[in-house]
């Protein structure tokens, strides 16, 4: 069994459990306030870490390369309210351009 399949099995079961607690178990009841606050914040911490690590991480070291230019350009595109497809395209194009010129 590949690593991907192992992760797939765990995530399928775990994610479905998370998705179905409301409709299958809780019905019209709600979560405790503290739990709700934590649930609201978790994605911000994880997505920020993923953004940064996938921008400058390469294995167990930090490497500043063309990807950083792409992500900075993506941030500018997001700030200018560009749609998702454009954000990804300009990020890729800027990265490719830097590599071409380097």
């Amino acid at each position: 069994m590949s690593d991907a399949v192992a992760v797939l099995i765990v995530m399928t079961i775990g994610t479905y459990a998370l998705k179905s607690v409301g409709p299958l178990v809780l019905g019209a009841r709600s979560l405790p306030v503290r739990v709700q606050a934590l649930v609201d914040l978790l994605p911000a911490a994880l997505l920020a870490a993923l953004t940064l690590v996938s921008t400058v991480g390469s294995g167990a070291s930090i490497s500043i390369d063309a990807r950083l230019v792409g992500v900075v350009v993506a941030a500018i595109a997001l700030w200018r309210r560009a749609p998702f497809v454009l954000v990804v395209l300009v990020a890729a194009a800027a990265t490719a351009l830097v590599r071409l010129l380097a």
Binding site: S2, D3, A4, V5, A6, V7, L8, V10, M11, G14, T15, Y16, L18, K19, S20, V21, G22, P23, L24, L26, G27, L31, Q36, A37, V39, L41, L42, P43, A44, A45, L46, L47, A48, A49, L50, T51, L52, V53, S54, T55, G59, A60, S61, I62, R67, G70, V71, A74, L78, F84, V85, V87, V88, A91, A92, A94, T95, A96, L97, R99
Partner: protein, 244 residues
């Protein structure tokens, strides 16, 4: 609002039909926005070494966009099974909150609620909660959920097909920057709220500091400690939009 007479009922029906049209239009634009994401996921999965079947497995069975990206990113970077799975699951904890919000509108037999639960994602909840009437909520949830499910899986296949044998091409076209750009796009709308912004900055700093010293995947997990940076706000404050 129960309608007792025939005329009232007809007017109500017309109103429902109009409301459903608005909901379908909303769902359509959200479904269209998912397509490029699916392509990028297919490409990321291929880059991380997932087979086509594994990529489809993630999109059909897990069906949670950002968590799928995280799993591909961490495994592709040499992270362990545990760190990839836990990071992915933590990103899906918000489905728990969505389920709590949507549950009153998703009534029915056990198997119906079980089937509808699989569609519990950002997009279906967003469209589902755009109205207050339970029947319309359910309608919006199902429209967006089913539409995104179909498009997400088709575009995953397309992304994987196009980029599976293209290691050099991925670098030459700068597609390794597409993943981080996608994460940033998912994060962006949250940054408008102060506690979310503080959490994001703290999470990013924690992860960055840990990259050189911790095994791949662990820095991402450790970032959840960033939530303490949000401070001791109550959820009412956290959800308040008056923080800009």
């Amino acid at each position: 609002m129960p309608h007792t007479d025939v005329v009232g009922k007809t007017a109500g029906d017309l109103q429902q039909a109009a409301a459903r049209r608005v909901i379908r239009r909303q769902a359509a634009s959200i479904i269209a926005a998912v397509a490029p994401f699916g392509i990028v996921f297919g490409a990321s999965a291929a880059t991380a070494g997932f087979t086509m079947l594994e990529a489809i497995g993630f999109s059909a069975l897990v069906f949670g966009g950002s968590s799928q990206f995280a799993a591909a990113e961490i495994l592709g970077d040499g992270g362990s099974i545990a760190s990839a799975a836990v990071a992915g699951l933590l990103l899906n904890v918000r489905s728990l909150a969505f389920g709590v919000i949507m549950a009153p509108a998703l009534t029915g037999a056990f198997w119906q609620r079980a089937a509808m639960s699989q569609l519990m994602i950002d997009e279906s909840t967003a469209v589902g909660t755009s109205t207050t009437d339970p029947a319309l909520r359910r309608y919006g949830y199902l429209c967006a959920g089913l539409g995104v499910f179909v498009v997400w899986n088709i575009t995953t296949v397309l992304g994987h097909l196009v980029f599976s044998d293209a290691g050099d091409l991925i670098n030459d076209l700068g597609l390794d920057a597409a993943g981080p750009a996608a994460f940033l796009a998912l994060l962006w709308p949250r940054l408008r709220q102060r506690p979310q912004l503080r959490t994001a900055i703290a999470g990013a700093v924690i992860a960055l500091v840990l990259v050189p010293i911790a095994p791949p995947g662990l820095p991402i997990l450790a970032a959840i400690a960033g939530v303490v940076a949000a401070g001791r706000q109550t959820p009412a404050v956290i959800e308040g939009a008056g923080d800009e």
